[in-house]
């Protein structure tokens, strides 16, 4: 939360600030000390925390300081220019500015720029730039003219980007603005024309800039009261050409357009800017902090005594001339935290950041909790991820495997994969498997003839893959109609979306019996139902009695008259499996898969009616098989459960009832299902009746355990 703290006034000495305010406030070599240059003759060094001046230097009467004093961070000296051309350099011990080092230059200086970590630069009014050392070596050297006549420098700023100094300055000529970017590592000067957009006749009042990795973000406050942003590339594409830059609106009507006094803005951090000016034409001047990301006003402070329209920001302090005195407002932008508001102190986060691999291996501890990562880091991660596949392998076998995937033949890949799998679980096993599958699938997509089925089967069987890791896998298998692979996926993947499940179901129902014969489908969920055919007769009796369902129960209306004419057929039909065992195995895989009803229903509507009928018949058959034994389960390893069967019957009917009910061949099936439901209801109502008796029995049992107020018991201690 950005917050302005209580302001305090710095000057105990009255500054001789003219109507145009101060010349400048600059940082000194100590974090808490600042050089304040007034528009007359004086430079004062302030210690902000103590709110007192540490030193004050003045030039002689008649001389006038023309450029704010700065600190040379490398030598810890102060530099000031008076009378446009005379350079003075002194340090803390010096008392009189007249007696310090002096150099008279051949051209007029616009500004001396100094930042930590590099030598100061001197920007001349004609646009030329010199390093201080080079200049002092020959003060009278000739200074070239860079900008044209009548072009005036309005604003300048000096950055360090990637340890290279970059200077930007803005010039104005007849209402047109130009930006110059000077790179010092390559000594390239690039000129840009700033296009003002529709609002051609607005005047830019104030500039500020922040620097990103690639761009200088130049923010300008126009006389219409809006803040615009212009992105200037640090590395110009074509330095020779005169390029144009378009500005975009960042914040609208931040300050009133027609203020008497100046307005100013300064960037506080990536997301916050401070604006000095009146919000409305009539009101008093305000210092406001805006969040440009969310375009919200964070905080504001009224400055009733008026300002000079100048604003400086160093460290955590905002400097401005409020009335006649220099005012400092400490500014803080803390990360607001819910935990803080809720009363829990946030623990210190470990500063190390971690690059997330594409496939997270949850088994091996990575040492990173859910750490806090700022947006910059996550952006870096995103960039990193794109090139992850090629960068990933560190371990030789996996690296080799990945390169194999890209080029070699199917046979060879298979051998390599097998080799890798035989190596047993390396720590990055999961990630390598993930990368391998991704690589294989990418190649499959690129080359339609390439389909390393055996490899894929092996990889799926490692149990480390899931649908979300490689969604393409099932897509390709669906295209290739590879039912075996699909079955495997359905069995192994926990997170298959309903649409894909349904697509699988479509294929399983539509694929021809002959093509099924060739496939090698896992049959473990299918019990060989034909085995039980020989003692079918006898079972028929028991099934009815045990689980309450009797297809013969003849309470149904006359609709099943027709049906009763051929009861022989019916029993035959209901007791022989309507699908071949391989198809049954595939359908069982569907029955086992997880789904959510809401998402599945719309997809089920797309299945052709005869396939629905077939599936229903199969489900009905399964139900009959279920009710054959007392435990209501199917024989075999991992068979579909009764609940799964019932749920799918309901789902299919819900989705397709209107279609199915119109089909003559489905009529008998529907009648059977109707009877099934009816008999279920009667069973449950009977069970409900019994429940009361059971409850009484339970109560009796409890009473036996409750021994009353007094009892004698036997206790044995061991």
């Amino acid at each position: 939360m950005a917050a302005l703290e209580e302001e305090f006034t710095l000057s105990s000495v009255v500054l001789s600030a003219g109507p145009e305010g101060l010349l400048g406030v600059e940082q000194s070599d100590k974090t808490d000390q600042f050089l304040v240059t007034d528009s007359g003759r004086t430079v004062i060094l302030y210690k902000v925390s103590d709110q007192k001046p540490l030193g004050s230097w003045s030039v002689k009467q008649g001389q006038i300081i023309t450029c704010p004093a700065v600190c040379n961070f490398q030598t810890r000296e102060y530099i000031v220019v008076h009378d446009n051309k005379v350079l003075r350099i002194w340090n803390n011990e010096d008392v009189n500015l007249d007696k310090v080092f002096k150099a008279t230059l051949s051209a007029e200086v616009y500004r001396i720029l100094s930042v930590q970590g590099t030598e100061p630069l001197v920007l001349f009014k004609e646009g030329a730039v010199r390093g201080l050392e080079a200049l002092l070596a020959d003060p009278q050297q000739k200074i070239e003219t860079v900008i044209s006549d009548e072009e005036v420098i309005k604003w300048t700023k000096f950055f360090i980007v990637f340890r290279h100094p970059v200077l930007i300055f803005i010039t104005e000529k007849h209402g047109n603005y130009f930006a110059y970017v000077q790179m010092f590592n390559s000594r390239i000067l690039t000129k840009y024309t700033l296009l003002l957009g529709q609002d051609e006749n607005s005047v830019i009042e104030s500039f500020t800039a922040s620097v990103d990795r690639k761009f200088i973000s130049l923010m300008s406050l126009s006389s219409d009261g809006c803040i615009y942003e212009t992105l200037i590339p640090i590395r110009p594409t074509d330095p020779e050409k005169n390029q144009t830059l378009v500005r975009s609106l960042l914040l609208k009507a931040v300050v009133s357009g027609n203020t008497r006094n100046g307005v100013a803005l300064t960037a506080l951090d990536q997301d916050h800017i401070a604006v000095l000016g009146s919000p409305q034409a009539a009101s008093k001047e305000c210092l406001s902090v805006w969040n440009i990301k969310f375009q919200t006003l964070q905080t504001s402070k009224e400055l009733p005594q008026g300002t000079s329209g100048q604003l400086w920001y160093y460290g955590e302090n905002l400097f401005m001339l409020h009335g006649k005195s220099l005012t400092v407002i400490p500014y803080k932008c803390e990360v607001s935290s819910l935990a803080g508001a809720l009363g829990k102190l946030k623990h210190g986060q470990d500063p190390g950041t971690h690059v997330m691999p594409r496939f997270v291996n949850w088994e091996t501890p990575q040492g990173c909790g859910l750490g806090f990562q700022n947006s910059e880091q996550s952006r870096r991660i995103l960039r990193r991820r794109k090139i992850e596949v090629s960068l990933q392998p560190e371990v030789p076998p996996s690296k080799q495997l990945l390169s194999t995937i890209m080029e070699d033949s199917e046979k060879h890949i298979e051998v390599e994969v097998r080799k890798f799998l035989a190596l047993k679980q390396t720590p990055d096993f999961h990630t390598v498997i993930g990368d391998t599958v991704t690589g294989l699938l990418e190649r499959c997509k690129a080359e339609p003839s390439f389909y390393p089925r055996n490899c894929l089967v092996q990889l799926i069987q490692t149990h480390v893959l899931s649908y979300s890791l490689c969604p393409d896998l099932m897509e390709i298998a669906l295209i290739k109609k590879d039912v075996q692979l699909l079955q495997l996926c359905l069995q192994q993947f926990p997170d298959i979306p309903e649409s894909v499940t349904c697509a699988c179901l479509k294929i399983f129902l539509s694929i021809g019996d002959d093509s099924l014969q060739e496939t090698d489908v896992s049959m473990e969920s299918v019990f060989d139902y034909s085995n039980s055919v020989h003692d079918e007769k006898m079972e028929e009796q028991t099934e009815i009695l045990q689980n309450g369902f009797s297809p013969e129960e003849d309470k149904c209306s006359n609709c099943d008259q027709e049906l009763n004419k051929k009861p022989q057929d019916e029993t035959k039909e209901s007791t022989s499996c309507p699908v071949v065992p391989k198809r049954a195995a595939l359908l069982n895989a569907i029955l086992h898969s997880a789904y959510s009803e809401t998402f599945l229903l719309p997809h089920l509507k797309d299945i052709p009616a005869q396939h629905i009928t077939l599936f229903l018949k199969y489900l009905y058959f399964l139900y009959l098989k279920c009710s054959e034994n007392a435990t209501m389960t199917l024989p075999g390893i991992n068979p579909p459960t009764l609940n799964q069967i019932m749920d799918w019957i309901c789902l299919l009917l819900d989705a397709n009832f209107t279609v199915v009910v119109m089909m003559p061949e489905a009529k008998r099936l529907l009648i059977n299902l109707y009877k099934l439901v009816k008999s279920q209801i009667s069973v449950y109502s009977e069970l409900n009746k019994i429940e009361v008796s059971f409850r009484e029995l339970q109560k009796l049992n409890q009473e036996k355990n409750n021994r009353g107020l007094y009892s004698i018991e036997v206790l044995e201690l061991f």
């Binding site: 935290s337 508001a341 102190l345």
Partner: protein, 694 residues
């Protein structure tokens, strides 16, 4: 180990009374608790929350306020309009001072500890000076319109806040005049119908007054301006109590819904210096009104109508896992309320105002472990003996032969002679008790029922000879010169030669009854004695302390026994030391001298001295009988502690040997338990059906 017949007695319907006030003493880490019947108990939090001392209740003394002053002095004030000071050494009431202001609703001690402030029914706030041996009225503050229900001093002692009905007054102590009157909003859930009672106030050093009221609000006031700063609505019912931590960084409030809320002063954002009060944690450990709360440096303490005293540790303040890190719920007194006549199989139950005598049933059947045997004769309720007068019973005892019953209140000692003729019982009171037998803290009969031992509150031990229907005073052991410490625990050897007596802090004294002189003193230990008994034959004194240590001291040899030294050298099992209720009774197996039987509220245990002691690696609690293990394994894993926790769900109050069988008695069966708020406090009555706290 052996088979036992266990009499499970569930007809001891003891209901403790509700807790009204708690007062925490930071200096001695003690907690004073007053109950609605006027009982005041003192818990030593350093000694595993052992209930060290208690002052019996009195019907006419409803304690409304309790506080520690001048370090170790305990004061209470109540609806009888008196301030009382308790003598923590002699365990009696030192004096009572009428303040002449009607019932007292609140009391607060000044930050310096030298002044007492009481708030009365007539709206007066009275200041008392605490003198070394009494309190002295100093002056009245400005009289308010209605009763003063809560009081709080500013930590500097210059101002006080007083909560009344519908408003809070801030007084200047020097002038005694009210400088602010802050009106509390009556609105309760948007409807203003009742008066708003300010149940509690707390004055912080920055001038903030926190109030809790009957509209369910916790409010923050600025005492300098008399304005409301912040309001938290936390309950639909009354918020009845508040306590602030000494550092003023957290406080706790209790509501009539049984909830306790913890408020903490936390920074608004991380690492900012601006802080605000935030409701952090709710706790629901009570079923009824939380009438009172206290805030110790490491725990939140709450008590209320449901009779539980709950000590909830603040986990962020607890550094090591020990006793302080566990939630404590104390419901029953840590003293014996049952005595037993072994010969006649009688049990005497002690209630606040009556005694009950029961005869145990019998059976002829046998069975295996866990069986319930058919009864040939059920238990009989023989006698219901009501006390006269408003005072609570302090202690009671039935003689081993069953023909004597003795009990004592604060002002009288009663001795009854019982005659058994077939199924009829006749009761005859022994009149003309000598004046020194006025108030007994503990009564004990000798094994042959010929002698009566009485520990009086003056520190003296009296021996009375009983013969026929009469008695004769034999001797009085006077306390050592200079000490007036009352003896709370007595134990007599089965041969009648030795009498052990223990007070609350000093060591155990052993007297020779035959020669009527002090035999020896067992060295004092850091923790109070919770139970002791003298073993038959060997005359070894077994002492249990509140830190779960058990010592065995040979009286004839005047030294600890070898077994006790071995135990101390090896140390007890860590699980044994982690139990949280004190051992309340020790007994012996008449035929197996190597066995010591002891129990606490949740388990009973037989220590077999002949078996090796368990170390920390062995299983202390044997969950199942090792039926399928070979004898070798069984022998190897066997250790001295045989623990049964079958009865843990209920509260074990007593365990006795009766000719080869146990008696286990519990407090339970509290269905249809009615909890009634004191009728004077507010016009409310709760009737809670089928809601037993156990």
């Amino acid at each position: 180990m052996g088979e036992f017949k266990v009499h499970r007695v569930r007809f001891f319907n003891y209901v403790p009374s509700g807790i009204r006030c708690v007062a925490y003493n930071n200096q001695s880490n003690r907690l004073a608790v007053s109950r609605t019947d006027g009982t005041v108990e003192v818990y030593n939090l350093s000694a595993n929350y052992f209930q060290e001392k208690f002052f019996p209740g009195h019907e006419s003394r409803a304690t409304e306020a309790l506080c520690w002053a001048e370090g170790q002095r305990l004061f209470s004030a109540g609806l009888n309009g008196e301030i009382m000071e308790y003598d923590l050494q002699a365990l009696n009431i030192k004096y009572a001072v009428d303040v002449f202001g009607g019932p007292i609703w609140s009391m607060a001690v000044s930050p310096s500890g030298s002044q007492l402030l009481v708030g009365c029914e007539d709206g007066s706030v009275k200041l008392f000076q605490i003198t070394p041996d009494k309190i002295q009225f100093e002056r009245n503050f400005d009289r308010q319109k209605s009763r003063i229900l809560s009081l709080s001093w500013h930590p500097s002692g210059t101002h006080i806040a007083a909560g009344s009905i519908d408003y809070i007054s801030v007084f200047d102590v020097k002038s005694g005049s009210a400088i602010h009157k802050m009106i509390v909003d009556r609105q309760h859930m948007g409807v203003s119908k009742r008066k708003c009672i300010v149940w509690g106030v707390a004055f912080l050093s920055d001038g903030t007054v926190i109030s809790v009221d009957s509209a369910g609000k916790v409010q923050f006031w600025d005492s300098a301006t008399g304005t409301l700063v912040k309001s938290h609505l936390i309950a639909n019912a009354d918020v009845q109590s508040i306590a602030v931590a000494e550092q003023e960084d957290s406080f706790v409030v209790g509501t009539a819904e049984g909830t306790v809320f913890h408020f903490q002063l936390v920074p608004v954002t991380s690492n900012s210096s601006e802080k605000q009060w935030v409701r952090t944690k709710p706790f629901q450990h009570h079923t009824h009104d939380v009438r009172t709360v206290a805030h110790s440096p490491t725990a939140l303490i709450s008590g209320g109508t449901d009779t539980h005293l709950v000590i909830r540790p603040l986990m962020e303040k607890v550094e090591v896992k020990n006793y302080d890190a566990a939630l404590r719920k104390i419901t029953f007194p840590h003293r014996r309320l049952i005595s037993c006549s072994k010969k006649r199989q009688l049990l005497l139950f002690q209630f606040a105002h009556h005694l009950e005598l029961w005869r145990l049933g019998s059976t002829v059947a046998t069975g295996k472990n866990g069986d319930t045997l058919p009864l040939s004769k059920n238990a009989d309720h023989l006698l219901h003996l009501k006390t006269k007068g408003p005072e609570n019973i302090i202690c009671s005892c039935i003689s081993p032969c069953g023909s004597w019953i003795a009990y004592s209140t604060v002002s009288r000692f009663f001795l009854y002679r019982l005659n058994y003729e077939h199924d009829n019982i006749s009761l005859k009171r022994v009149s003309k008790m000598p004046p020194f037998l006025r108030c007994a803290l503990q009564i004990l009969f000798s094994e042959d029922s010929t002698k009566l031992f009485v520990a009086s509150n003056q520190g003296a031990l009296h021996i009375v000879q009983l013969s026929g229907g009469s008695f004769k005073h034999l001797h009085a052991f006077q306390p050592q010169s200079g000490t007036v410490e009352a003896m709370c625990l007595l134990a007599v050897s089965s041969d009648g030669n030795w009498l052990a007596a223990s007070g609350t802090s000093a060591g155990v004294h052993v007297y020779n009854v035959k020669q009527l002189k002090l035999h020896c003193t067992v060295p004092a230990y850091n923790f109070p004695v919770t139970a002791m008994a003298i073993a038959p034959n060997t005359n070894n004194l077994v002492i249990a302390h509140s830190d779960q240590q058990v010592f065995e001291y040979s009286i004839p040899d005047k030294q600890y026994t070898d077994w006790s030294r071995t135990v101390q050298k090896q140390g007890f099992h860590h699980l044994w030391l982690q139990r949280d209720t004190p051992i309340t009774h020790i007994s012996f197996h008449p035929k197996r001298p190597m066995h010591i039987l002891l129990h606490d509220a949740y388990m009973f245990c037989i220590i077999d001295k002949s078996l090796p002691l368990p170390n920390d690696k062995t299983l202390l609690y044997n969950p199942f009988p090792p039926t399928n293990e070979s004898d070798v394994v069984r022998r190897r894993t066997a250790h001295a502690f045989k623990i049964s926790k079958i009865y843990k769900v209920k509260h074990l109050v007593l365990l006795f040997w009766i000719v080869g069988s146990f008696v286990i008695s519990k407090c339970n069966k509290l269905h249809n338990w009615k909890i009634r708020a004191p009728s004077v406090s507010m016009q409310r009555t709760w009737i809670v059906g089928n809601k037993s706290p156990f």
